[in-house]
């Protein structure tokens, strides 16, 4: 008998966690955080100094500046000055002596302070200063709940990233992934979890003794679709993150899997094998109707919507082994996308700008993550393998998160889209797999 527990969580702004229990019940232990280990950096990184923020609240609070430092360093695009190397610790604009910083080669300075308001919120004040001109590039006051300072730190990081790199930051976006706990001798525990982009603040959305697969974010970031085997056969569910309410969307004979939301959030592309072999279908969430996309005796699975909404890529082995194909919604044509890339190309996902596909490529038993530029048709490996899977782009297109098997078991790793900067996200226990990076929080 399978046991499935659902978790309601309101993240970011509230304190209460409601736990609703289906079937068997027991208390869930606090989800372990992922820990991020940075492996390599790029020497062309922007030198920046983020001075510890002044704390006027009278309370001991988390170190906002340290979180911002870690965030920016993790992108590989910034190199931040350690606190012990700082010549001074200004927290107000008038206290900044630019000569202190230019002599160290620092180009940008961030200073700030935390102030308590009456309503139990904290204001994060920060300023980004161009050291050479001495001018302030931006300054903001961000009000947050005092237990949401980590989210506030991610917001500060986004502002700085965007101002200096002219691209959206993804620090306030979330990750979803599956963990498998093999510690128990009796049975495996599968958990669908959501965490901050740095792996902190992990919370369990669903827990089960049966496999959970294929998490997928809705475009508004409020729901997750996933596959669960709690009913013995695979079925597709959608769960609302704020309320924990979940609905079984598609079930029945055969495979029911691989859900992915359309860009407008109104449809789900899925893989169903009820008609004899796995095919791609589109499910209209409002009308609750199915529209069949592929008609072929081969396996057709792993659909992914193009950002312009005009088509989908999917995996099919109608040719020589599994390859990536594109289905055009306007004229129903199907076109193969992976040529001269060996006999195994699966699980393609678009970059946010639609110009690239990231996919799993297998050659001579080595499975690695490969980027295919759709304009130039040139592909390159961004990982070395041997057992890499489930790549997902960050919503700003700068990084790719994926799962890899190492001596420590299956864990998550991230690589910059140019392949230079690699990081590991390590779970404290069990195995971590199938990461998906949520949308930008706006």
């Amino acid at each position: 008998m399978s046991s499935t527990r659902c978790y309601n969580s309101r993240f970011s702004w509230t304190v209460a966690l409601m736990v609703s229990v289906c079937g068997l019940f027991s208390f869930e232990t606090i989800a372990e955080d992922l820990v991020i280990k940075i492996e390599k950096g790029v020497s062309t990184a922007l030198p920046i100094a983020i001075v510890p923020f002044e704390n006027n609240t009278g309370e001991s609070l988390i170190d906002v500046a340290a979180i911002v430092r870690n965030n920016l360093e993790r992108s590989g695009l910034f190199r931040s000055l350690p606190v012990y190397d700082m010549p001074a610790l200004p927290t107000a604009l008038e206290d900044v002596r630019t000569k202190n910083w230019t002599s160290l080669g620092i180009e940008n300075l961030v200073i700030g302070k935390l102030e308590k308001k009456n309503s139990g919120t904290v204001d994060i004040h920060f300023r980004l200063i161009d050291v050479y001109s001495g001018k302030q590039l931006l300054g903001y006051r961000i009000p947050v709940q005092s237990d949401d300072l980590r989210f506030g730190s991610h917001k500060v990081s986004d502002f700085i990233y965007e101002k200096l790199l002219d691209k959206p930051g993804a620090y306030t976006s979330l990750l979803a992934y599956i963990t498998v706990d093999r510690d128990s001798d009796i049975e495996k525990i599968y958990r669908l979890q959501v965490s901050d982009s740095d792996g902190h603040n992990a919370r369990t959305i669903l827990q089960s003794t049966e496999p959970i697969l294929s998490p997928a974010w809705s475009p508004d970031g409020k729901r997750l679709a996933y596959v669960s085997f709690e009913g013995r056969n695979s079925a597709v569910y959608i769960q609302d993150l704020a309320t924990g309410r979940r609905q079984r969307i598609i079930h029945g004979k055969g495979i029911n899997s691989s859900p992915t939301f359309s860009r407008d959030g109104k449809k789900l592309a899925v893989t169903l094998s009820r008609d004899g072999n796995p095919e791609i279908y589109l499910y209209d969430l409002k009308v609750k109707s199915l529209m069949r996309v592929t008609r072929h005796g081969a396996i057709d699975t792993e659909p992914a919507w193009a950002p312009d909404g005009r088509g989908l890529v999917f995996t099919s082995d109608r040719g020589d082994g599994p390859q990536i194909y594109y289905f055009n919604l306007a004229d129903n044509s199907i076109k193969r996308m992976t040529y001269n890339m060996g006999r195994y190309n699966t699980r393609a996902r678009y970059s946010p700008d639609g110009t690239k596909l990231v996919l799993v490529n297998g050659i001579q038993g080595i499975y690695r993550i490969v980027l295919l530029d759709l304009r130039t048709k040139i592909y390159e490996a961004v990982t070395i393998g041997e057992l890499d899977e489930s790549p997902s782009f960050s919503p700003n297109g700068a990084m790719i998160i994926y799962a890899t098997v190492t001596e420590e078991g299956s864990q998550l790793a991230a690589v910059s889209a140019d392949g230079f900067t690699k990081q590991k996200l390590v779970a404290q226990r069990g195995e971590v797999r199938e990461p998906v990076w949520g949308p930008l929080i706006r």
Partner: protein
């Protein structure tokens, strides 16, 4: 700190399964089974003809009634419930044919007996594609049983892809063991 605050305000709501999703009726009644204990497989054991399943089966499937219908030879073939496949293939291996025929005879003779064919793959490559490969393998075995005369109504197919490995190592021996279809009698 925040998480402790959350736990402190937990509400437990017992749901009978209504708003948290129904359980599919597909093949969920009357099955007596325990989950497989994962094993570490050495090279040597892979060479055996078929791997006897570590799963315990309902005693009814292998009771005195069976021995009445068959001699001991066929009964031992029925012990073989797990059939491996070659890499990237769903072709029935020649070495399994005798055991499969044994199961076919048993199922034809016992028309109230139903069997689930569970398809599995090794861990390499993507999970969703492996779900499909597992199903293809189970369907391949189902077709063979059907050709041998087993009615469709006595068989059903399910796939777990790479989600239920028997062997947990990351090597060829483990992959070979995990690429399999299991017969699960109800």
């Amino acid at each position: 700190m925040r998480q402790l605050g959350r736990i402190a305000t937990i509400f437990i709501i017992f749901l009978s399964g209504t708003s948290c999703g129904m359980f599919s009726g597909e093949g969920s009644e009357g099955i007596v089974e325990k989950s497989l204990s994962p094993v570490n497989v050495s090279e040597a054991s892979v060479e055996t003809m078929g791997l006897a399943s570590a799963r315990e089966v309902s005693p009814e499937a292998l009771d005195g009634r069976l021995l009445d219908n068959y001699n001991g030879e066929t009964a031992s073939l029925l012990d073989i419930r797990v059939f491996q496949f070659a890499y990237d293939s769903s072709e029935i291996l020649e070495k399994h044919v005798a055991a499969i025929e044994g199961h076919a005879r048993y199922l034809i003779k016992n028309s109230n007996t139903r069997v689930i064919l569970e398809g599995h793959t090794d861990e390499r490559g993507s999970r969703e594609y492996n779900l499909a490969l597992g199903e293809r393998r189970a369907q391949s075995l189902q077709r063979r049983l059907s050709l041998l005369g087993v009615p469709e109504s006595q068989m059903s197919v399910i796939t777990y892809g790479e989600e239920r490995p028997i062997a947990l190592m990351h090597n060829e021996a483990a992959y070979a063991v995990n690429r399999r279809v299991e017969l699960v009698y109800r």
